[in-house]
């Protein structure tokens, strides 16, 4: 397709994502967004001004060559576009669905200053889906084998992206994962209706075809230590990407009651263990049908939990957030989706305690209204309780989604690995090298909870340094 002159391009308005009707989707686990058809994707690509110095590329944590991808889409070479994406991004079908593009590529798009930014995420998703649906995968070429063994601990986006780059560079890569499925938060956290698990499976298959080995059911620190991997199993280099998987609770009375969950547990039961399909799967989950369910928090995890509860049949599904809606860290699209589906937002409210019945099951939440005071360290205005504003509401299920911390299993069994006082691993900003020679770390276990694409960026950064580290060693 020929590019239109810039004036014409600017006349086209941003495409909207076709989605399942809000009423229907609020009761099923099928994907909400349906993806752009070919013509619409090319139409959207026409909107790109083809800047000489594309700001979007710089704003992408993995530096995807977005301008080239857009050109290939306009040319109708969708597999070529996929291959171009894969040079920088091993999980295009995933990031096209879950990236907060408004803060990254699309946030930097020059069009965005005057009108709506190019829908880069929609184009990316289109290319990745086209590739998968036609079964014609644009896998990158691999360099000749170096004979060096690389261990990746954790199979979330940071681990997978590092594994991809290391395999391209010719190294022998094994990914070790504690759970029985590969994908980290992509399989246990983010729900089916936002990221179908078959898509993650498919990306993992692509990586297996690049020669990457996967070992599930290995809890590093318990099943084997990093030192044992390096001495007994001959790994030359290790990348730790264990994520920030330790759930935080509110530390208020009543949190032990039946019906009170960490978001991690609730989402793991629903996604990894497929509790949403009780006819087929054994994993139980508290029966949400006809119940009042509230999720405490305002991030992506909170939105995923509340929308899952709705789909499990909740009568009322609430978000309880102690700041205002503008302060919510969730992707804007998810907040809109949640509202369209009927989620009720209670902002500037915070739980004080949970009360149960004689069986030990949650029945009532005791809450308090908040107001915004002075800005805190994060620059957001600090919520402070309003005197005498306490109230109660009937509640059967409460899901706590107020953030996560660092899981200490690897750190506590690797003596020469330096950590911060909150238990995150200390890594060099440029190389992601840790205090232990040959060991690198990245993703949420270094940065604290962030995003899929930032974790992938960290995986790439580490891969570059790890490749240099291995190349500097004597050849095998």
């Amino acid at each position: 397709m020929d590019r239109l002159p810039p004036k014409e391009r600017m006349k086209i308005s941003r495409s909207s994502m076709p989605e399942q009707d809000a009423k229907d989707r609020a009761r099923n686990f099928l994907e909400v967004n349906l993806g752009l058809p070919v013509l619409a994707a090319q139409h959207e690509a026409q909107r790109c001004l083809d800047c000489a110095d594309p700001k979007c590329v710089g704003a992408c944590p993995v530096g995807m060559q977005i301008n080239d991808v857009v050109t290939l889409v306009l040319d109708g070479d969708f597999i070529g576009a996929a291959k171009k994406i894969r040079e920088d991004n091993v999980l295009p079908a995933v990031t096209g669905r879950v990236c907060p593009q408004e803060n990254q590529c699309e946030g930097a798009c020059v069009l965005g200053k005057k009108m709506d930014a190019v829908a880069i995420g929609y184009i990316e998703r289109f290319v990745a889906d086209y590739e998968r649906e036609t079964g014609n995968v644009g896998l990158p070429d691999l360099k000749p084998s170096t004979g060096k063994k690389v261990a990746i601990i954790g199979s979330g986006p940071a681990g997978l992206s590092c594994a991809g780059d290391m395999a391209i560079n010719g190294h022998d890569v094994t990914v070790f994962e504690a759970l029985h499925e590969i994908g980290g938060v992509l399989v246990y956290g983010i729900p089916e209706f936002r990221l179908p698990k078959d898509i993650v499976k498919n990306e993992v298959e692509n990586m297996k075809n690049m020669g990457i080995k996967f070992e599930t059911n290995v809890v590093v620190g318990k099943t084997i230590t990093i030192d044992e991997l390096m001495t007994e199993e001959g790994f030359d280099c290790v990348f730790i990407a264990t994520g920030a998987g330790l759930p935080k609770f509110l530390k208020i009375p009543g949190e032990h009651l039946g019906g009170v969950y960490s978001a991690n547990e609730f989402l793991t039961r629903v996604n990894l263990m497929k509790a949403y399909d009780p006819e087929k799967y054994d994993q139980p989950i508290y029966d949400c049908r006809g119940k009042n369910v509230a999720v405490v928090g305002g991030g992506n995890t909170a939105m995923d939990s509340v929308r899952s509860a709705l789909r499990l049949g909740a009568k009322n599904a609430y978000i309880i957030y102690r700041r205002g809606e503008d302060e919510m860290p969730a992707r804007k699209e998810e907040v809109h989706h949640a509202k369209d589906e009927g989620v009720q937002f209670m902002t500037l409210v915070n739980p004080v305690s949970f009360l149960g019945d004689e069986k030990g099951n949650l029945k009532v939440a005791h809450l308090q209204r908040m107001e915004l005071g002075e800005p805190d360290a994060s620059g957001r205005r600090r919520p402070v309780p309003k005197e005498g504003s306490d109230f109660e509401m009937p509640l059967d299920v409460a899901i706590i989604a107020v953030g996560t911390g660092a899981n200490p299993l690897v750190q506590s069994t690797t003596p020469d690995l330096d950590t911060t006082d909150r238990g995150y691993i200390l890594a060099d900003e440029e190389t992601l090298a840790t205090s232990k020679p040959g060991v690198f770390a990245g993703g949420d276990i270094v940065s604290g909870s962030a995003t899929v694409i930032r974790a992938m960026g960290a995986g790439r950064k580490a891969a570059k340094a790890m490749h240099e580290y291995l190349t500097a060693q004597a050849p095998v």
């Binding site: 029985h180 059911n217 609770f249 032990h256 793991t268």
Partner: protein, 298 residues
């Protein structure tokens, strides 16, 4: 997939398995457990490692019929495989020379207590064993326990074997006669609570192994949280052994019955046609094996 190398009943409804899992066999210590997922549609269930063999790379688990998953597992035979096994999880038992130790096992809890009893003996403790069960038929690991203890007292609820009575009767009797420095009690929650009540006033250090419902077993979900004094602990990483005098047993009992309805429904459906389910699991397992073999050939 992990091969079952040996499977045999120790008592009706209680079966011993040796499963091939060399990495786990090498690392495990007394008091640690594994999480097993039998098949793709199943739950992840925690089971204590009763023993291991580094020569053939197997771990031993001893499983009592409870609901669907344990019953399905107990229908599996040598040559079958389980889909997933992960571990060793949890902190190992704290072993030292306390002096005189009483190790109490109730039902399948005996299998959980046994490896720790062995270690206690190795550390030079004077070990007294008390094992309780409902009746003679359900009595397990008697020879093993006798061989590791300096004195051994079998107890049954109906008096069909050993003495009639509860393990706590025997414990109180022993404590009256001699100085006891340490008690380990593993069994049904009411038994562990009763033991804690006996030793609390006597000031005897007592440890119990808690069995809350678990999912991941790595500290990621918090589903296994238990109240220990005024602290919340995750049993899978901070336990499973805790100071019996600080445990909030009521909360544990309540949390363990959270999913009764679904458990009972799944169990009833399973028991209507257990062999069909077993065959499906075996069939899927063979398909997976074929697929693995094809991949390995390519």
């Amino acid at each position: 997939m992990y091969l079952i190398k040996e499977a045999r009943f120790l008592a009706p409804d209680i079966k011993l398995f040796r499963i091939e899992a060399p990495r786990i066999a090498r690392k495990r210590k007394a008091g640690q457990f594994v999480i097993v997922r039998v098949h793709d549609e199943g739950e992840r269930i925690p089971l204590t490692i009763a023993d291991s063999n580094t020569d053939d790379g197997t771990v031993t688990i001893i499983v009592q019929n409870a609901g669907k998953t344990t019953r399905l597992l107990n229908m599996m035979e040598e040559g079958d495989s389980v889909l997933d096994i992960v571990g060793p999880l949890g902190d190992p038992s704290h072993i030292e020379n306390f002096g005189t130790c009483v190790v109490i096992g109730g039902g399948v809890g005996t299998a959980i207590a046994y490896p720790t009893a062995v270690e206690m003996k190795t550390q030079g403790n004077h070990v007294i064993g008390i094992v309780g069960s409902r009746n003679k038929e359900l009595f397990i690991l008697e020879d093993e326990m006798r061989a590791t203890t300096d004195a051994f007292y079998p107890m049954t609820d109906d008096g069909s074997y050993g003495e009639k009575g509860f393990v706590t009767n025997k414990l109180a009797e022993i404590c009256e006669k001699q100085k006891v420095d340490f008690v380990l009690a593993i069994g049904p929650i009411p038994m562990m609570r009763a033991v804690a009540n006996v030793t609390r006033d006597l000031g005897i250090k007592t440890v119990v192994s808690l069995n809350p419902i678990m999912v991941d077993g790595t500290g990621m979900c918090g589903g296994c949280r238990v109240q220990i004094g005024d602290e919340t602990k995750f049993a899978c990483v901070d336990g499973p052994e805790f100071d019996a005098h600080l445990v909030d047993f009521d909360t544990l009992i309540a949390r363990n019955s959270l999913y009764k309805e679904k458990e009972q429904k799944d169990l009833a459906e399973f028991q209507a046609n257990p062999l069909v389910v077993l065959e499906q699991v075996r069939h899927q397992c063979r398909l997976d094996q074929v697929e693995e073999a094809i991949k390995a050939r390519n």
